[in-house]
């Protein structure tokens, strides 16, 4: 295991009497991409500022490249110059595109000739070479964000901070730039810390994902793991687990948990003690939707190793790529089907339908395990 490029320990950030961030231990490996997610006010920006060595924490320490950072020291500027940041708003200065991209190099005292040699390839790389001498204030939003990304990458930083860099762009521009940017990140070995509100960006961009909740780490892990096994209800909600059904564990044996969710019992892979109240988490896309079989009209439960919930169609919500079907199975359940499958099912509100899922598709969150507020 190589040394982490950035680490924080026993970090506390207070504004007045209000504690906004408390992180015991968190480190970032050299070359990895971390996505930082959380609601507004979760402490994301504060953590970014501390990691970017822009704001000293109230308590605790930051280590950069194995060395403790002294925020009062003049040497911190030299450390800061091994990093670069891009924000949601491109924040370009009143000068040409070229001069904007050259800004960080000028701050570092790089010579004029060297600046030209380093800036122009990045203008090409981001397809903004034709805007080189244009004033930065007249270019489009997508072009401005390309300029802002080039301005950071031209510095060849060890650590790149991206604060929701694509969220202000319109969807086609965002997708295009995201794809290009991923390719560029793949070519460099820059360590990247990326905040986003977008679940898909978090899933495709990050090697690891850090979920912050009310100033604390709610979960840290691979995005896929967090998507499938969220540690708390808030994380589950954030990563799009729409079905969070409260229940009680009635039996546990052999890595199988039987959960009473009101009218029926379901079987889920896991290990939770009987009597524990839990949230049964089901991703809408993991549910198999079918018309209800007449014999099973009210016999929900398990059939052939699958859990089955039977109910009535309440609402049908089309979205751009799929159809969302809301069922009332005693508890509301949302299932996602393709348009083709939906046409075949011929479902209407009021129809009886069933959803099935395997024991491994469901995830249990023990209740009372929520992150306590700071």
């Amino acid at each position: 295991m190589n040394e982490p490029i950035l680490a924080v320990r026993d970090l506390v950030m207070r504004y007045g009497n209000e504690t906004v961030l408390e992180v015991d231990d968190f480190s970032i490996q050299r070359g990895e991409t971390i996505t930082l997610v959380g609601h507004n006010g979760s402490g994301k920006s504060t953590l970014m500022r501390i990691l970017g060595l822009l704001t000293p924490p109230t308590e605790g320490g930051v280590w950069f490249d194995g060395q403790p950072v002294d925020f009062r020291s003049r040497r911190t500027l030299a450390l800061r110059r091994r990093m670069a940041g891009v924000h949601q708003d491109p924040l370009l200065c009143r000068m040409s595109v070229f001069n904007n991209v050259a800004l960080g190099l000028r701050f570092r005292g790089v010579s004029g000739r060297e600046i030209g040699k380093r800036v122009d390839p990045w203008l090409d790389r981001f397809h903004i070479a034709h805007l080189r001498d244009r004033p930065a204030r007249v270019i489009s939003g997508g072009e401005a964000q390309r300029t802002s990304l080039a301005r950071a990458l031209v510095l060849d930083p060890d650590v790149l901070f991206l604060d929701e860099p694509f969220s202000a762009l319109d969807p086609p521009t965002r997708e295009e730039l995201l794809a290009e940017f991923q390719e560029i990140l793949g070519e460099t070995s820059v360590t990247t810390i990326f905040t986003t509100h977008d679940r898909n960006e978090a899933l495709v961009m990050g090697d690891r994902m850090l979920v912050l909740e009310a100033g604390r780490i709610a979960q840290l892990g691979e995005p896929d793991e967090i998507y499938r096994r969220p540690a708390s209800e808030a994380v589950a909600r954030f990563v799009g687990v729409e079905n969070r059904i409260p229940g009680t564990v009635v039996d546990f044996s052999d890595n199988r948990v039987r959960v009473d969710i009101g009218e029926v019992e379901v079987e889920v892979r896991g290990s939770v003690a009987p009597g524990q109240s839990v949230l049964l988490c089901l991703r809408p896309e993991d549910l198999m939707l079918a018309a209800a079989e007449p014999v099973a009209s009210n016999a929900t439960g398990q059939m052939g190793g699958q859990n089955v919930l039977v109910g009535t169609v309440v609402r049908i919500l089309p979205s751009d790529s799929s159809i969302r079907v809301v069922l009332d199975c005693g508890v509301p359940v949302v299932a996602l089907v393709t348009r083709a499958a939906y046409r075949k099912l011929k479902l209407e509100p009021g129809h009886r339908a069933q959803v099935s899922f395997s024991a491994t598709d469901a995830h249990l969150i023990p209740r009372g395990s929520e992150v306590p507020p700071l």
Partner: protein, 232 residues
């Protein structure tokens, strides 16, 4: 009507012939007001920038005081500078009253709050996120402040124009502390007052024309420079 017409004719004659008395007064005006503006800039820009970029107890009070300085009556400034420089006043030993230095001091006091206040406003209107962006590109604090002033250069030029405009056209305070001594502390405004009182309207008009011309030329030059930076 004849009075005005004759006055104007004679005034133009004085100007084109380059009357040394009139020119001397004009040059002195430019020198003193220019110097007062430059000294004000040296203090007002760092002061305004610091107040704009920092938070400290009593900041609101200080901002209010600076903004009050915008409407500081020049006569009051003249009075206090006079008292301070008076032979028996606290700085009387410097013997500066009725000298060009006294004029520069009074003009500086008038100019300082104008430029400070407008600098403060100019720097404050910049998106605060830009500061963080500049820092995250590796700007040191002086580099960051420099960039913010560069971003605010258009309103900053307006501040310079306002400051210079306020002092070149100032008459009350200048009269009080300078004394309107010919060839020493007589400037365009005080000379105009004197010539008007004497009924020498042609000279007064010539002086006024020069004053207008200077005000226009300075403003025009700064505006041209300012508009160059404006994006279509």
């Amino acid at each position: 009507m004849e009075l005005i017409w004759d006055g104007l004719k004679h005034a133009l004659q004085l100007l084109f012939e380059g009357d040394p008395r009139v020119l001397g007064i004009a040059i002195r005006s430019l020198q003193l007001s220019g110097l007062a503006t430059v000294i004000s800039l040296l203090i007002a820009v760092p002061l305004g920038t610091t107040v704009a970029l920092t938070r400290f107890p009593g900041r609101n009070l200080l901002v209010s005081l600076i903004n009050t300085g915008l409407s500081l009556p020049p006569v009051v400034v003249g009075l206090f500078v006079s008292i301070t420089l008076w032979r028996s006043g606290p700085l009387g030993f410097l013997e500066l009253l009725y000298t060009p230095t006294a004029i520069v001091i009074a003009q500086f006091v008038i100019c300082l709050p104008v430029i400070t206040s407008l600098t403060l406003a100019a720097v404050q209107q910049i998106d605060p996120k830009l500061r963080q962006q500049l820092q995250s590109l590796g700007a040191s604090r002086p580099q960051m402040v420099g960039m913010l002033l560069w971003e605010a250069r258009l309103p900053m030029l307006a501040a310079v124009m306002a400051g210079f405009g306020a002092v070149i056209s100032e008459v009350g305070a200048v009269m009080m502390v300078g004394g309107n001594i010919l060839g020493y502390t007589r400037v365009l405004t005080t000379a105009t007052v004197l010539e008007t009182r004497k009924g020498q309207f042609d000279v007064a008009i010539a002086l006024s024309l020069i004053l207008l011309l200077i005000a226009f030329a300075v403003t025009w030059a700064l505006t041209a420079f300012q508009q160059r930076g404006v994006v279509r």
